[in-house]
Symmetry: C2
């Protein structure tokens, strides 16, 4: 056993030079009007993406993200030993049908909106441990597939409070491998515990998820003897305006200062203030499309040296909500570092 891979119960240290050999991002039309638009690889002008159903459109976006990631890595689907993928849809059908079409062995993941970093952490572990030469990750969400599954048909026009979040339409993918000549390094991961402080309102998921983000952040800082200042950027996945301000308060309570621009939230970064998305973006795609475009670009270009992505997930279902259960939440963190070309 290479004991040093396990820093602590929750934090892993990858022993080898695990790199993002390629990453790809595809987004929907609203995301394509946001402030990060120029950094996305592909913007679909229509939420159907030329398909007959929104579910098929979501699959097309995951496929597109995968194809861009493969293309950037110079590798093919046949080179990938395994795909770690997931999405918000019941029985993660986006991942299942995408894996079928790509013919890559599948390990299906579900961590709600934190699926992006769960998949990246596990892919990195499998490559680091020598189980896979190359591992592919993928995750996606689509506003219209999520709305009709979790809430009401879009046509119903249900009103939402300002604390509600807007499920992001898009997908992100990465090719994880050893060494290589480009792409940031994945150095550490911190696996989250399920935290549930009793919030039951699905229109206030940011408030429900903030304590899980705080728990993972504090565990991460403790395990690595680090502080926010050790990172050029710390992003949460999709706490939105409400949740991220709660997170800042929770951290301040224990004397850890999360301040802009060092701290930001992907769900806020995706949209401009004049786009009507309530408290901000959410969905598996939120953390993925920001991490695999803006953050990877920033690391490659030297704008950032070290970034911590803490993807957040609300692990409830319509049935658990209807049965009066509170919303259990989780957050998984992954550290990305610039590899200097010296």
């Amino acid at each position: 056993m290479r004991a040093s891979a396990r820093i602590s119960r929750q934090t892993w240290h990858f022993q080898n030079e695990i790199r993002l050999l390629g990453s790809g991002v595809a987004v929907g039309p609203l995301e394509g009007q946001g402030p990060l638009a120029e950094e996305y690889d592909h913007i679909f002008e229509d939420s159907y993406a030329g398909e007959d159903t929104w579910e098929q459109a979501e699959r097309k976006m995951m496929t597109q993200a995968i194809e861009v990631a493969l293309n950037k890595s110079g590798l093919t689907a046949e080179d990938m030993d395994v795909l770690l993928a997931g999405d918000l849809l019941n029985q993660i059908i986006t991942a299942n049908y995408t894996a079928r079409d790509q013919q890559i062995p599948l390990l299906g993941q579900f961590a709600a909106c934190s699926t992006s970093m769960q998949g990246l952490a596990l892919a990195s572990a499998l490559v680091d441990g020598g189980f896979a030469k190359y591992a592919l990750t993928g995750c996606s969400s689509h506003n219209s597939t999520a709305e009709r599954q979790f809430r009401y048909p879009t046509e119903y026009g249900g009103q939402k409070p300002p604390s509600a979040q807007w499920t992001t339409t898009g997908a992100g993918a990465t090719v994880v491998g050893l060494g290589g000549s480009s792409g940031p390094r994945v150095t550490h991961a911190t696996i989250g515990k399920v935290i549930d402080l009793g919030i039951k309102d699905p229109f206030d998921m940011g408030a429900a998820m903030a304590p899980a983000a705080a728990d993972t952040l504090l565990t991460h800082f403790h395990d690595l003897a680090r502080a926010p200042e050790d990172y050029d950027l710390i992003v949460t996945g999709d706490l939105g305006k409400v949740g991220s301000s709660i997170l800042v308060d929770l951290m301040a309570d224990v004397d850890v200062k999360l301040v802009a621009p060092r701290y930001d939230d992907c769900g806020i970064m995706i949209f401009s203030p004049d786009q009507e998305v309530f408290s901000g973006g959410s969905g598996c795609a939120a953390s993925a499309i920001v991490s695999y475009s803006h953050i990877v670009d920033g690391l490659n270009q030297g704008r950032y040296q070290r970034v911590l992505v803490v993807a957040t997930g609300a692990l409830f279902s319509p049935v658990s909500f209807q049965q009066g259960e509170s919303i259990p939440c989780i957050a998984h963190g992954v550290v990305l570092e610039r590899v200097s070309s010296a």
Copy 2:
């Protein structure tokens, strides 16, 4: 990179002595009347398991299986670095709420009825790679939670054809760790590809899943230069009578003989012929409750030296079915070996 952990694209070889330090099985009343009843750790006499809802009952069964597994291993929930768990319910709420109550870091898995072996393969990889000292796996299914989610309310009394399968009620859990003084060894895993030959009938899942089982079996035999005769027992997860006879035919077509009693199917083994379960049992619990009771006992007692468990999963959803999609399937295999006490 320890290159030898990767035998091939799909097959892993664990380098260390990865053992099932404990395993636990809890089942519902119908399963408790089946031929393996004496080998189960806990039989709930009522499908509500003393809870208010079937969903809560399913969680209680997963919790019970985990507690038995921990108890047999002599370890506690605090000793577990990570829980790899999943179930059939939308957003895998059984796993999420169980992980919340156990306060073990969670990596949520979804591979439909093949979740058992996906979780065990990943848990073994994380321990083998030094990321976890001890990893816990869990999976569950419940006939009544599955019926109302995937089909009709039980009260509706819908008729089913003989090729239909009966979702097993129960849960299984394992504690995975290095060395130790008892419990079988996990030596290899073969990760499945998604196979879809175009079957669209959810009442004939065995036929849909059989080609995925064949693909994983043939890959496994090829990668390790093994044949069925190298195993004392090969079980599929839940092909049932219809699916397992198709698998035997598919294998015979390529001159690989799967014959009883060397080959069996967990979905068939759980119930006696006079129990009315159509083609046989299905569900995440099927492969888990047989593997973690009957098979682990057989390995511990010397009745078996080496067993291959190929858990099978149908990766569709009610939405994908309603949209006219076919049923993508997968199968993940894990090899368990007796460790002689010499």
